[in-house]
Symmetry: C2
């Protein structure tokens, strides 16, 4: 029984999965910010909204004879399944190599709804539990609290996830009479650490899910900023031979966060306890969705659908410029940290090949107070990571985001950061 | 503990609050449909979407000096509160005479999310219960199941709600150690019966809420099709002197269902159990919303915001033509039923002054099977009402919707309906 009233460690301490980390920037406009949780804004263009809406209606016009059906299809109610589930499925194949039945795609009001629907569907009794690598995306913690699904933390590792600890947690849970339903993780550019689960670990994880009979929830909010030009590891769902993976995605990082469109790919078909009859998990998600938001704004879906059509389903290719800019920043950061901290005791960093979130290890606890001091005195912003470990103490770690920095800005920010860090040693 | 797996009377029997009643129309395109759960479609115009988006951006441009802020405010993330809460508050004052602090307005992903957030917030322990007039909107039943909030039915009456039974239910619940948190009702054009709670009953209801200390959840999905030209009764929230009313609204009936924008007005500030500190209910709703959808698609909010600005916040005036057409249909139906059924034993009807949903009482049980037969044989569609009474048997009642019928169509439909009804007598 969860009391939704704020209480220590409860909803009171709950903070929004929306980009709260940006707030200090408002108080220190002159500071260089490594704290942005959002992608580049320079690539967002409201003018495109109208263009995409037209593309989507053209597609409908080609498909439907009845003109009035076209006129109505956007403004009228959609279906809980979504009106662009087929387009999303084509996109997943084109960009991710994920082959999926469009009917298994549930279009949601942003990826957070996909998380909530999935967790709520998995929680059937008080004995059901979720495994999640700590630190986890804060939206996961929020959805789990609301779904009243207990979360058992799994240790993270440089590789992104400690597989031995995962198996140990599953065994311990079962020994306690609990039912580990699934393991949640963000295989690409794990927030906040930025670790990427390598190909071998992904295959081993799938094998373990089979062997120990649990599902995997692959959350890829950054899928489209990840470096999947063919060199990076494939999505878990693309390697999923036994339907162990529920894949959650978002178009928030695809240059259209204003549309709030995400999706869940759930092609599992578990036996339904009451009757033993197999029931598509996607159907269960839709049933729950109808109780929460009925359907996802067709107008917003149309914008995304139009964008997918406009780029022939290949958003990755459409965003090469942005990806390259981000990778230049990652390289610049790697070199810049080496120049400034190489050989300094207690200083280390982890910089992924994709995304825009990195980790800086320091020999002191880095919490909000120190951040405020740093912003005032050194005019540079970063993100404390302890909020990602629900309700823990400040940790000796900084999250650095290079998603929104020009190169000169980034270098200036690194000088200020070095000044700040050295002042703490 | 609710098991989300389908089971008799459980999620399995749950049907979508989306306009499922329309489905038979797909199988009988030649039939006249009194079954539409939606408003006129002739008034929906996708072309307006672009226009409204421009209006909204103009407003931002007037307000914000920084042009880039304008460019970003639509596509970037919004706030859980919503980006148009002030516009919604102005609209509520202009059209409904509801004076409310904009901060008490929580913009939601359609009215269904407002229902779910409210019920989830009210359910703090297993002893919390909700009172709801039966029949209720099916979306309420769905939200209550998902929130695991027990619903105690209150008898309905010609006036829309049996106040004596309401008090009796509250007393009985308390005697059983339960906590009646609120009473849910749709005061205008109650679905499916179409009853409108009169002014005196509204004042008495507010008095009872004070005397017996419970809240009222005023759901007005039809507020904008209701006949509130000054002659109809005011919204409960407009009469709410002691902050007893949580007001739920939607723009789905305002000609923009594709936008999926609704809202909850929650200006209560209950003492928060853990600390005894008063906490704005709107804040609690926002906290829960962050776990479900984070925020409502800013792009969709912008469309609605633009529409509100375009019409100087007065959607009622903007829709006079539609309202008049609907009222002509209601008059035509009243006359048409009198002509065909006056004096026929066991036949009665209830036709409201506003909205587009009416009730026809018949001396036989009217369920899906009979509807199918009627569609095949008499080529006219209507809606069985028993689904509105969760899981009950077919009832001697038909719901008639005149929201989408041309006058000739309506008359032809009435002839077929009379033929059908007389064939059952």
């Amino acid at each position: 029984m969860t009391d939704l009233a704020p209480r220590p460690g409860g909803w009171g301490s709950y903070s929004s999965p929306a980009p709260a980390p940006d707030r200090p920037a408002q108080h220190h406009p002159e500071a260089v910010s490594f704290a942005a949780g959002r992608p580049f804004e320079g690539f967002l263009d409201p003018g495109l909204t109208e263009q995409y809406l037209r593309s989507y209606r053209r597609r409908l016009a080609d498909r439907l004879a009845d003109a009035s059906a076209v006129r109505l299809s956007v403004p009228q109610y959609g279906r809980a399944m979504g009106i662009i589930h087929e387009l999303v499925a084509e996109h997943l194949w084109a960009d991710e190599g994920i082959a999926v039945d469009p009917d298994a795609v549930v279009v949601t009001a942003g990826c957070q709804e996909a998380r909530y629907l999935t967790l709520r569907a998995l929680r059937r009794t008080d004995r059901d539990v979720l495994l999640a690598v700590a630190p986890s995306y804060r939206g996961l913690d929020a959805a789990a609290r609301l779904a009243e699904l207990r979360v058992l933390p799994v240790r993270d590792a440089a590789a992104g996830l400690d597989l031995a600890d995962l198996v140990a947690q599953v065994r311990r849970a079962r020994a306690e009479g609990l039912r580990p339903r699934a393991c949640y993780l963000v295989p690409d550019c794990v927030n906040p650490a930025g670790a990427v689960l390598d190909g071998a670990a992904r295959l081993e994880l799938l094998r373990l899910a089979d062997e120990h009979d649990f599902l995997l929830i692959e959350d890829s909010p950054y899928e489209l900023v990840g470096d999947r030009d063919g060199t990076g590891p494939a999505a878990l769902k693309a390697l999923d031979g036994h339907r162990r993976v529920i894949h959650l995605g978002s178009f928030a990082r695809a240059g259209a966060p204003g549309a709030r469109v995400g999706y869940a790919v759930a092609d599992q078909c578990p036996a339904e306890p009451a009757t033993g009859r197999p029931e598509p998990l996607a159907e269960l998600l839709r049933r729950i969705k109808r109780a929460v938001t009925v359907d996802t704004a067709p107008s917003a879906q149309a914008v995304i659908g139009g964008k997918l059509l406009h780029h022939n389903f290949r958003l990755r290719a459409a965003r090469q410029g942005e990806t390259r800019a981000r990778q230049d920043n990652l390289r610049l950061l790697r070199q810049g940290l080496t120049d400034r901290f190489a050989g300094t005791t207690g200083i280390g960093w982890q910089i992924p090949d994709g995304g825009f979130l990195c980790r800086l290890d320091v020999p002191f606890a880095a919490g909000e107070e120190l951040l405020a001091h740093c912003a005032r005195t050194h005019r540079v912003l970063w993100t404390p990571v302890h909020p990602f470990y629900a309700g823990a103490e400040p940790r000796p770690q900084l999250r650095l985001s290079v998603g929104r920095l020009e190169q000169e800005e980034l270098l200036e920010g690194l000088d200020r950061l070095a000044e700040f860090v050295h002042a703490q040693l």
